[in-house]
Point group: C2
Chain length 400, copies 2
């Protein structure tokens, strides 16, 4: 080995080619430059229940200091699993021992992939789907196939056809206020999807971070709660959207022998989740008024969703397709006309606004004219200004 060459590590194939992308680099500068960012799914910190969370941590260190600092089980702290079970049980009877705690939903997705995916396995995903899930599945060797969707989510006939064709390891769905599309599957569609899954015996990984951010009517029951589905589903939740994302507490609900496999995978990946956060979140869920918090946040985000929809309608080409979500955090735009939103982004950042180009949300055959915009971070006046800037960026792009 020549001493003139710098040493370089051998990189695993799974991570080769995962370079810094132009999009990633652009979005990195966004937060530093006074750009109005619609890119991240970042909740407005003004609506965090800071006092309640602070009180929960204080309670933990006043009452269980040694326990908060000591090693603990890979499954998670009992109090947190009980609170998680209580919340899931509103729709689907669940015991604490059916709950595995994870350090946020992302770890949950990775644990599931480690536990279930063999290299080359097919996972069926929505088209478009959540890009960080795709990343976790991809690193575990999965091949993603996108299921066509309409305005109500995956099309059951297409799902059935693709299950028959690919015999997937599992189907990954975000039925409520999907990231990135904002779509919420109506109950009839959920039933039709469950019928397909039950008939074909295909496993479901159901990701439900946004279900409680429902701005009209009641939050919908997960597909896991439909008759016959609970044993066939791993259901993932997190407190990122009902308390705050920085604490990184999520959980997954499953039944039967798979629970042990998931725990072994969790143990190898991260031993256990931090105890202070687990106990604090358990305390918060046991004592704070989560419903009151949600009722405070929902109308704020609903107004922002309406505002962003209206602003975009005024600025985008007449035939652009804009989803009109009644929950969650995201709004999805299809511009059409051969516009490439990855090429639009530099103009947008120059004008002082950012979004995520849609291509990265597709497992294959991306529609490059799409983009994801989060409506939760900014107040309506900032949304107005940001969309104006987006309009100017589009005009400049159009002059090319």
């Amino acid at each position: 080995m020549s001493t003139l060459e710098p040493f370089s590590f051998r990189i695993a194939d799974r991570l080769r080619g995962v370079d810094s992308s132009p999009v990633r680099d652009l979005l990195e500068v966004v937060s530093k430059e006074g750009v109005i960012s619609f890119a991240g799914g970042v909740p407005d910190p003004a609506y965090f229940e800071v006092d309640d969370v602070k009180a929960a941590y204080e309670w933990v260190f006043a009452n269980h200091p040694a326990r908060a600092l000591q090693y603990a089980s890979s499954e998670g702290e009992l109090e947190l699993r009980e609170q998680a079970a209580r919340r899931v049980s509103r729709h689907l009877p669940t015991t604490a021992d059916q709950v595995q705690v994870t350090t946020g939903s992302q770890e949950g997705l990775f644990v599931v992939a480690q536990a279930l995916v063999n290299p080359g396995d097919v996972i069926l995903v929505e088209r478009p789907t959540y890009l960080a899930a795709v990343q976790a599945f991809d690193l575990n060797g999965a091949h993603m196939v996108g299921v066509p969707t309409d305005e109500h989510g995956v099309v059951p006939e297409e799902l059935e056809r693709l299950i028959a064709e690919h015999s997937p390891t599992f189907v990954y769905l975000i039925p409520s206020f999907q990231n990135p599309s904002g779509i919420c599957m109506p109950v009839e569609r959920r039933r039709a999807v469950a019928d397909v899954l039950l008939r074909t015996g295909a496993a479901l990984v159901e990701d439900d971070p946004y279900g409680e951010l429902c701005y009209t009517g009641e939050p919908m029951a997960p597909i896991a709660s439909l008759p016959g589905m609970s044993a066939q589903t791993i259901l993932l939740n997190s407190v990122s959207k009902i308390i705050a994302p920085g604490v990184r507490i999520g959980w997954m609900r499953s039944e039967g022998p798979i629970q042990f496999t998931l725990t072994v995978a969790k143990q190898a990946i991260g031993l256990q989740s931090p105890v202070p956060d687990q106990l604090a979140v358990a305390r918060y869920l046991a004592t704070a008024d989560v419903e009151a918090h949600l009722e405070r946040v929902r109308p704020v985000y609903a107004e922002r969703a309406r505002a962003m929809y209206a602003e975009l309608e005024a600025v985008l080409p007449r035939d652009a397709h804009i989803t009109r979500p009644y929950g969650g955090m995201f709004l999805w735009v299809r511009l059409g006309h051969g516009i490439d939103t990855a090429r639009l982004l530099p103009f947008a950042v120059e004008e002082g606004v950012a979004f995520v180009p849609g291509a990265s949300f597709y497992a294959h055959d991306p529609d490059e004219s799409t983009m994801r915009l989060s409506f939760v971070t900014h107040a309506p006046d900032v949304i107005h200004e940001g969309v104006q800037r987006l309009g100017r960026a589009l005009a400049r792009y159009g002059e090319l």
Copy 2:
């Protein structure tokens, strides 16, 4: 699919056969039954600096409440990376941007394996080595080969031979107070190992959780700090042994393009570590007297190490080999005489004492007469009682 059969998930090959083992089951009951456990590497909670840690969390929620609850970068919070860099720099000049935060060392080991290991790759490990590292490497498809060790750690000639034979992806070493053997490589051995690594161009993953728990003399500089080694090494640390394990904060130090790959892997595996713990640990490291804490703990653990060694010497067969660590948490026993410590364990648990049978610490060809005992959890009088019980278990085993 028959509705009479319960649904079962397809398990990935990497997790097939990872069943509940008899040892795992036995160790599970240990904590519940009044058994004196030497099994876990569990610090004595009486020596946690509860007030300082509590003050650090309070400071975080008083000064950065919104930030503590918000999404943050995958690399980790700047203040924590600065404090980590400051600590590593005592031996090896390090900047904050060379530090990747992990949710404890276990996540760090898994991130490294994701980033570097292709299925079938060889990793050279010490013989014996840390079993949770083997688990993380194994799930990523690695094949572990054990390097013979003597009382000073891996034998350089054997290391060189095995590097030539296997061209390993990396060599995994715990040079200071190794888990499970308690061995600390002297500086001459570190130099000899570094020479081999530099000559062969083999990458090093250096795990250093115990270096500061040094009961005689100064903590030793990591191999990463020897001339030429820093670019070739990923160095892992955690605060589990210098503050407390429950907060799950660790970091890894690397140089060059590998940093980006590690961050991408970390992002896919767990997005980011929880912010409250990151900021609290940063605050603690910036303001609390870590050295004073270590000076309080070291003599306590040193006394316990001496006590356990003396008690074991009085009780075990004369020709049993017992390591005499001057740091860390573990003491390693080789009983010989064809004794199988996995078969001894049930007798031990019946007598009211637990240890970890040594076989699980070997990548292959285990010495089944070995066991790992942690000396840090209990006071000398409890150690005395526990070792008496171990003696009774051995006597009963001998009567078989």
